[in-house]
Amino acid sequence: MKPFFGFVKKEFIHIFRDVRTLVVLFGLPIAQILIFGFVIRNEIQDVRIAILDKSKDPVTFEITNRILASGFFKLDRYLESDDEADKVFRAGKIREVIVFDHDFADRLEKEKKADIQLLADASDPNSARLIVSYTQAIVSTYINEINSQSPQQVKIESRTRMMYNADLRSAFMFVPGTMALVLMLVSAMMTSISITREKETGTMEALLVSPLRPLQIIAGKVTPYIILSFINAVVIILMGHFIFQLPVRGSLVLLFGETILFITLALSLGIMISTVSSTQVVAMFLSAFALMLPTMLLSGFIFPIENMPHVLQWLCRIMPPTYFIVIIKNIMLKGTGLAEVWKETLILIGMLAFFLSISAARFKTRLQ
C-alpha cells in the first residue's frame, strides 16, 4: 500500500506545482457560476421599445402605461411615421415597435374592435417571441378587465403558480448544468491529459516497470482528481445556495452520492480518452469536442432536448450529463428522493461499467 500512497502524493505535488492550471481548475467553476447566475438571463427586462401612436387618446395612453409599468419594457421614443420603424431597428437598440391604429378609443367603443400592430426585431428570435408574448399578455389582460367591468359580464380568473421556482430565477436552470460541465471538465479532461502526458513524456514506461500494478497506477492518477472534483462540486453547491438562494430541498446524502457517481463516470471517460490518445493535444481536443461542447449543447443544459431534431435527441440520450442534470435538478429543486431518479441513476451506473471495461481492455501494459 505504501508505494500506492507515495504515488498519489506525487500526483498531488504535480498538480499543485502547476499554479496556472490550478487557477483555471478552481477559478473556472467560480467564474462560470457567477456568469451563468448573474449574467445569463433568459427573461427579458428593460427592453427598449418605440411607440407609434396614431390615436393618442386615453385608451392608448392607458395601454402604454400598463406596458411600461410592467417592468419588462422601457420607452425609448415615440415614432411619427411608419418608415421610421426600419431605421430604428437598423440602429440596433430598439427591439419592438408598437403601433396603435387611428381612432383607437372610438373604434373600440363603437365598433367593439380596434387594432394594434406589434413589430418585433426577430434577429434574436427568442427575445422577439418573448417580447411579443409578454406584450400580448399585458394587452389582453387589459381588455379582459374592460370587458368584465360591466356588472352583468361574467369574470373568469386564472391564477398561476410557478412551482419549484416562484421567482423564475435563471440560476435554477443553469447552476445544475454548470455543475455537470465543470465536473466533466475537471474529471474527464484533466485526467485524460494527465495520463497522456505521462505517455507523451515517456515517464509512463518508468511507471510500468515499477512494482506498481497498472490498476494502482490508474487509481493513483485518478484519486487526486476525485478529491478536487468533489471539492469543486461542493463549492458550486455552496455558491449556488448562498449567492443565488438555490435550495437543496432533497437529501444531501443522495446528492453527494450521485455527484460521486458522476465524477467517477467522468473519470472513467477521461481514462478511456487517454487510452486512445497518443499526445496531449489529441487528448485535449477529444475531451473538448467530444465532451465539453456536447455537454453544453446537447445535455439539456441550455437548450431543451424536446425541441431538437430527432437525430440530435438520440445523441443527447447517450450523453451522461443529460441524466446527471435531470438528477440534480430533481434532488435540489424538487426535493425528490431516489424513487424518482432511479432510472437515471441506473443508466449512469451502466455507463460507468461500460467505460471502465473498455478502459481496462485497452490499457496496454506493454508498449508498442
Partner: protein
C-alpha cells in the same frame, strides 16, 4: 517575409491543422445550429377536471387543439398531477374546480388554477403566456354566449393584435446562431491556435534558436500572427459560404463592412492570444487559459442569450469585450443590413480595443526565453 512563409509551411505540415480548419466550421455549424432551438412545442400538460361539465370539456378541448400543448392525460386528483410533475412527466397542470360551469353561468365568477414547472424560468414565462391566451380566447367565447341580451353580446370588446417579426419572419433560430458561431470560429483560430502555436515554440525550445537570429521582435511577431489572420479571414469566407449553402442565411448588408470589421477584430483577438502565450510555459497551460478566457468572454457576449437582458455591470463589461462587438455587428449586418453609419461607433471602439490589446501584448513579449 520569409518567416511568414516558414510559418505557413509549419502550420500545414501539422496534420491536425488541416482537418481543423475545414472540418471544424462544418461540424460546429451543423450540430450547434441544429441543437440550439428554443421553440416551444408540445408542452405537456395534465388537466385535472373536477367539474366534468360540457363547459370544462370545451376548455380542455381548446388546449388539446392548440399546437403548443399536448394534453398528456386527464387527471382526477391534484395530488396525482403534482406527483407527475415531480417525476418530470408533465410541465403544466390546469385545475378546473368542481362547479365551474355553475359558477360561470349562474354566479358570474369562476376561478381556474394553473401550476407550471418553473425551473426553466423562460419557458415557464412563455407557457404561462400561451395558457393565458388560450384561456382568454375561451373567455371571449363564453362572454358572447352568456350575454343576457343582444346588446350584451355585442358589447364584448376586443383588441386584435397583429404581430410581425422583422428580419426573421420564420423566427428561424439558425439565423440567430450562425453569425454567433462564425464569431466563435474566428476567435478560436485567432486567439486559441495562434496562442498555442507560440507556446509550442517555447515548449519545444526552438524559440531560443529564433531569438538568437537577427530577426527583429516586430517582424517575428507579425510573422507568427499574420498566417493566422489570413487563415481566419479565409474561414470567415468559408463559414459564410457554408452558412448560405446549409441554412440559407440572409446576407442583407454589405459584406465588405463585415470583413472590414473582422480584420480589426482579429487583430484584437490575436493580441489576446499573444498576451496569453507570454504567461504560459506549456501548451497545456495555454490551452486552459485560452479556454477560460474564451468561455468567459463568449458567454458574456450574448451569443446564446441577449446581451440587453444582462445586468448593467455586465453590459458595461461588454464594452471591452471584443467578442460582444463582433457578434452584434455580425448579426446586424447579415440579418438587418445595417449600414456603416449604424455601426460606425462600434468600428471605432473595436479599433481602439485592437490597438490597445496588440500593443499590450507586444510590450509584454520579450525576446527572451
Amino acid at each position: 517575409m520569409l518567416i511568414v512563409q516558414k510559418e505557413f509551411l509549419q502550420i500545414f505540415r501539422n496534420k491536425t491543422m488541416i482537418p481543423m480548419i475545414f472540418l471544424l466550421p462544418f461540424v460546429q455549424l451543423l450540430i450547434l445550429v441544429n441543437a440550439a432551438i428554443m421553440d416551444m412545442k408540445n408542452i405537456e400538460m395534465i388537466v385535472v377536471d373536477k367539474d366534468l361539465s360540457s363547459l370544462s370539456t370545451e376548455l380542455t378541448e381548446k388546449f388539446a387543439q392548440s399546437p403548443f400543448f399536448t394534453v398528456v392525460r386527464p387527471g382526477f386528483s391534484v395530488k396525482q398531477a403534482e406527483e407527475a410533475m415531480l417525476g418530470n412527466k408533465t410541465d403544466m397542470i390546469l385545475i378546473v374546480p368542481s362547479g365551474f360551469e355553475q359558477q360561470v353561468y349562474h354566479q358570474g365568477k369562476a376561478d381556474l388554477q394553473i401550476q407550471i414547472d418553473a425551473i426553466n424560468g423562460m419557458t415557464a414565462g412563455l407557457m404561462n403566456n400561451y395558457a393565458t391566451q388560450i384561456i382568454n380566447s375561451f373567455y371571449f367565447a363564453v362572454l358572447q354566449e352568456t350575454g343576457n341580451n343582444v346588446l350584451m353580446k355585442n358589447n364584448v370588446k376586443s383588441i386584435s393584435m397583429n404581430h410581425r417579426f422583422w428580419y426573421n419572419s420564420q423566427l428561424n433560430f439558425k439565423y440567430y446562431m450562425v453569425p454567433g458561431i462564425l464569431a466563435i470560429l474566428l476567435t478560436v483560430i485567432g486567439m486559441f491556435l495562434a496562442s498555442l502555436n507560440l507556446v509550442r515554440e517555447k515548449e519545444i525550445g526552438t524559440i531560443e534558436q529564433i531569438n538568437v537570429t537577427p530577426i527583429r521582435k516586430y517582424h517575428f511577431i507579425i510573422g507568427k500572427l499574420l498566417p493566422f489572420w489570413i487563415i481566419a479571414m479565409f474561414e470567415l469566407m468559408f463559414g459564410l459560404a457554408l452558412g448560405k449553402i446549409l441554412f440559407d442565411i440572409p446576407m442583407e448588408g454589405n459584406l465588405l463592412l463585415l470583413f472590414g470589421f473582422a480584420a480589426l477584430y482579429l487583430i484584437a483577438v490575436l493580441g489576446i492570444g499573444l498576451f496569453i502565450s507570454t504567461l504560459c510555459e506549456t501548451q497545456q497551460q495555454a490551452q486552459f487559459l485560452n479556454f477560460f478566457v474564451l468561455i468567459t468572454f463568449v458567454m458574456l457576449s450574448g451569443i446564446f442569450t441577449p446581451a440587453e437582458s444582462m445586468p448593467h455591470w455586465a453590459q458595461n463589461l461588454n464594452v471591452i469585450n471584443p467578442i460582444a462587438y463582433f457578434i452584434r455587428i455580425n448579426r446586424m449586418v447579415l440579418l438587418k443590413g445595417s449600414e456603416f453609419r449604424d455601426i460606425a461607433g462600434d468600428y471605432i471602439s473595436i479599433g481602439v480595443i485592437a490597438i490597445f490589446l496588440i500593443s499590450l501584448a507586444i510590450w509584454k513579449y520579450r525576446k527572451i526565453a
